[in-house]
């Protein structure tokens, strides 16, 4: 695992100290992460989900996206999941069936953005999702 990737994992651990965090090194030097039992707000039937993502070997130059959530994620209002949420995917690395969230950002700044900040932004979006 490359030093910037290890640093990203440390930052995620510090940002989510009360959550279980699983990591899995990938061959190029990056790592898959899963943060367990994260509250995702009222827009969904489920109140919590695991959240997974890849910190690629070219992090922080590489954006941290997409993210993956629990497979059974469903909207509280009964409507179908719609983009950027995509049902029927699988998170690589951990090989979990998952819903994928593809929230790319054109404003990713390698000198300032981190995997932990991105995770916070993803959670904010989920909690605001209607």
């Amino acid at each position: 695992m490359l030093p910037p990737v290890r640093q990203a994992i440390d930052q995620v651990r510090r940002a989510f100290p009360d959550h279980g965090i699983e990591t899995l090194a990938e061959p190029q030097g990056g790592a898959y992460l899963v943060v367990d039992e994260v509250p995702i707000g009222d827009a969904f039937v489920q109140t919590t989900s695991w959240l997974g993502f890849l910190v690629g070997f070219q992090y922080p130059r590489a954006h941290v996206y997409p993210h993956w959530l629990r497979e059974d994620l469903a909207r509280a209002d009964g409507s179908e999941l719609r983009p950027p949420l995509h049902a029927g995917h699988q998170m690589p690395g951990f090989e979990r069936r998952a819903v994928m969230l593809s929230r790319a950002s054109n404003r990713w700044d390698p000198s300032r953005d981190t995997a932990a900040l991105k995770l916070e932004r993803v959670l904010h979006w989920l909690r605001e999702a209607t």
Partner: protein, 501 residues
């Protein structure tokens, strides 16, 4: 840490050099001082210092009369900057000037002052070399002290920019006559110019339609050492754009249309690697070229290790991972380079729009691909996912249709960039105000567009807090070493490696 005992070389970005020269030679004929902080890189060819910052000493305040020599930097100025260099792990270089001319050397009082002061500076620097530079208007000399107690001169100072300036302590000895094969070229470049080309090491990232033409032209022109990096093998659809490639290279009888999938797969597996074709192309062009071919992804640390030793880099690969590596190498090691390519705009209905031939010069002080939005963090994330995962991620905008490509269009950008490289290297290039601009030629109309690249001071690559001139201390965006990957090192003919400088 052990240090190379051969003379060292120095690279100074053009903007830094211009600021330093304006300070040292304001037209008053007097002596002035400064400090340069430099990164360091050691390779098989030798050790290079990479100037990152210059701190100009104010006359009468930081640069004052000396009781033992003419002028000196004040202890406060020295102390401030040796500590900065120690903390940043950069080499401290005290700089002053002598008069005009193309020869320069340290005076006796200069050398005595080094002997009095530099052992103490080495103690403060904690394992980092220290030294001094003296400049005339057309020459640079250096005296570098290493922690093992030895000293080295600076053999050559290179100023990587559009006109590729070089400075020596004294004019180098003129080269002997060129071999007969170079007769027509030497009538333009001179024997000295042809010798310069022979000493240069050029990295070519990507041996596809653009890169392979570059390899052919570079070898025939007489560049002495080429490093070619490409992980791929030849496919039948590559044949119209790869010089000297044959159907046999593509294993066409196995992978042609209509063959069973398993047979196509076998054909692709045993097709000739592009770097092997590059070796063949270079060898047929010129038997004395030294070629290092690496069948690796450019993000492999072994590829990066070889490319950091190049004098010039040509980016002829499409991926954003390759762009990120190229950009990091240019800035961390102060190696000038160019991104080449062709972009054909085709509508979903198949109508052909503009056809662009692209030449993007990237120098350590201008043209950064990050600052100009030419490296996409999203694409880097997508490319980091293995192919099998990409196939699974249906949300990702896959560009399934291969990009249109024609050898003559590829040749347009290659010839333009290599003409600029050759003329700059041999000292024949005339400086233009657009030298640093990105160039796009619309091939259907011949219209040329120039774009002046932007620069962001906080950039992760070209900013002072980023990789700039960090050399071997820089963290390049490489993957971890892959033991299973196949490495191909080939040197053509038993020619010796070109020497540095």
């Amino acid at each position: 840490m052990t240090f190379d005992r051969r003379p060292w070389n120095l690279q100074m970005p053009e903007d830094l050099t211009d600021r330093l020269m304006a300070h040292l030679f304001p037209g008053d004929g007097d002596e002035h001082g400064a400090v340069v902080a430099a990164g360091i890189v050691s390779t098989k060819r030798g050790t290079r210092l990479l100037a990152q910052r210059v701190f100009l000493a104010e006359d009468g305040v930081d640069f004052v009369p000396s009781p033992r020599a003419y002028r000196r930097l004040t202890p406060e100025f020295v102390n401030q900057h040796i500590r900065f260099c120690r903390d940043e792990r950069l080499v401290y270089l005290a700089v002053h000037n002598h008069g005009p001319g193309d020869r320069v050397s340290f005076s006796e009082p200069d050398m005595r002052s080094h002997e009095r002061g530099y052992p103490a500076l080495l103690d403060i620097a904690r394992g980092i070399p220290v030294g001094a530079l003296v400049l005339s208007t057309g020459a640079v000399a250096g005296d570098i002290w290493t922690p093992d107690g030895t000293r080295r001169p600076i053999a050559v100072t290179t100023i990587p920019g559009p006109t590729w300036r070089r400075r020596w302590p004294a004019p180098p000895v003129t080269a002997t006559n060129s071999p007969e094969i170079d007769d027509r070229q030497a009538r333009i470049f001179g024997s000295a110019g042809q010798a310069i080309l022979r000493d240069l090491k050029i990295g070519v990232i990507g041996a596809g339609g653009v890169g392979m033409l570059a390899v052919s032209f570079l070898a025939r022109t007489g560049f002495g050492h080429l490093v070619v990096v490409d992980p791929d093998r030849i496919e039948i659809t590559n044949l119209p754009r790869l010089p000297e490639a044959t159907r046999r290279d593509a294993r066409a009888w196995l992978s042609a249309d209509g063959r069973p999938a398993w047979l196509c797969c076998l054909g692709r597996r045993f097709a000739t690697p592009k770097v092997r074709l590059a070796r063949r192309v270079a060898r047929r062009a010129r038997r004395d070229v030294v070629l290092t071919s690496l069948q690796l992804d450019v993000t492999d640390p072994l590829a990066a290790r070889e490319l950091r030793d190049c004098d010039y880099l040509i980016l002829a690969a499409d991926s954003h991972q390759a762009r990120a590596m190229f950009n990091a190498l240019v800035h961390a090691y102060l190696i000038p380079g160019v991104q080449l390519g062709t972009r054909v705009e085709v509508s979903p209905a198949g109508d052909v729009g503009d056809i662009w031939s692209l030449v993007r010069p990237v120098f350590p002080d201008s043209g950064c691909l990050w600052c100009n939005g030419l490296i996409s963090p999203e694409k880097l994330a997508e490319e980091a996912l293995a192919v099998r995962d990409l196939d699974r991620q249906r949300y990702l905008p896959r560009e399934d249709a291969p990009a249109p490509s024609v050898i003559t269009l590829n040749a347009a950008s290659v010839t333009r960039a290599l003409n600029e490289l050759v003329l700059a290297a041999v000292g024949l290039r005339r400086a233009q105000s657009t030298d640093r601009d990105y160039r796009r030629v619309e091939m259907r109309s011949g219209a040329i567009r120039f774009e002046t690249p932007r620069r962001d001071p906080s950039c992760i690559d070209c900013g002072e807090a980023g990789l700039l001139a960090r050399g071997d201390e820089a963290g390049l965006p490489t993957q971890v070493a892959q033991a299973r990957q196949r490495i191909r090192w080939r040197r053509l003919v038993g020619a010796q490696r070109p020497s540095a400088g």
